[in-house]
Amino acid sequence: MWVYEKKLQYPVKIKNCNPRLAKYIITQYGGPDGELAASLRYLSQRYSMPTEVAKATLNDIGTEELAHLEIVGTIVYQLTKGVPPQILEKEGLGGYYADHDRGIYPVNGDGVPFTAAYIGVKGDPIADLVEDLAAEQKARATYEGLINMTDDPDVIDPLRFLREREVVHFQRFGEALRIVQEKLNERPFYVKKPDYAKEKPLSNVSPAANIGPGSNVGPASNVSPAANVGPMTNVGPFSNVSPAAEKKKK
């Protein structure tokens, strides 16, 4: 789960408004190579990773990308704060203002809304990690393009920081890829995949729930479908009956 800290990872203090720049910077909020895409991608890929290193790397970098998302949102917010609607319209944010006023909505530089089609979660560890490497390079290149478009040092400062983070993330994903490849290369296949047909099922109880007579299941209880609740069991609210816990009660 996530804990929020009431500070940005890198300070953002922009003194001069610039709505036209905000229109382009918002692509790193909701665009194809932006922080929202990055964090969703990494946090979704981590479930199917085979090694602890890969899971930890994806988890922690995905979390850091959420922090970066906040930084980009702050940049856009501060660049458009207090700008009258006529100026927003003149600078090309008329359509955005009509739909979202001063809100920060995940779109790319042309106003195309965010879509999950920007991310890929293949479930295959090598494909996922190589996609993450590409994503970090695309994000770095986008930041360089944004840095090229402005002279304002207050804006360049956080953009430089974010760009450097992408370089470091690339290195981390590369190392995770090395470790995953070493593990999968223990056999002489191109990519070793587990043989699901031969794996044992998750628990050795019958699939249908078997609630005996006299059992008392509270209103908000969370009984998994494979649970085997014996007679006279008294399950209070919010309880989560797992097969192992149920065995203990017996």
Binding site: Y10, F161, V168
Partner: protein, 100 residues
């Protein structure tokens, strides 16, 4: 796990220097002070990546990083990384430009 030298098989092909921490010279220097305050020295002792042994066709490889020295925290925050060898600022090399 902490303090033992046991390596799981997954790491068997990766050079052990990577997991021993810094190279010997830097280790001695780092033993005296945890973070390196002489940033130019850090950049000079630019880490040469370990050669990749046992590379296979149709696989992608990124060299492992070895811990050398670290920027002090405030400088690290400003630069975007605490590792000098990963500090690649944008626009540092005027000779390298797509626009020519």
């Amino acid at each position: 796990m902490f303090g033992t030298n046991i390596m799981p098989e997954a790491y068997a092909n990766i050079p052990s220097e990577v997991f021993a921490g810094s190279k010997a010279k830097e280790k001695a220097a780092a033993a005296q002070k945890i973070s390196c305050h002489d940033f130019d020295m850090c950049k000079l002792q630019y880490y040469d990546p370990q050669p990749i042994v046992g590379a296979r066709l149709a696989h992608a490889y990124v060299p492992f990083q070895c811990l050398c020295c670290l920027y002090p925290p405030l400088l690290g925050l400003k630069q975007g990384t605490i590792f000098p060898e990963l500090d690649r600022p944008y626009g540092a090399d005027p000779a390298y430009s797509y626009d020519g």
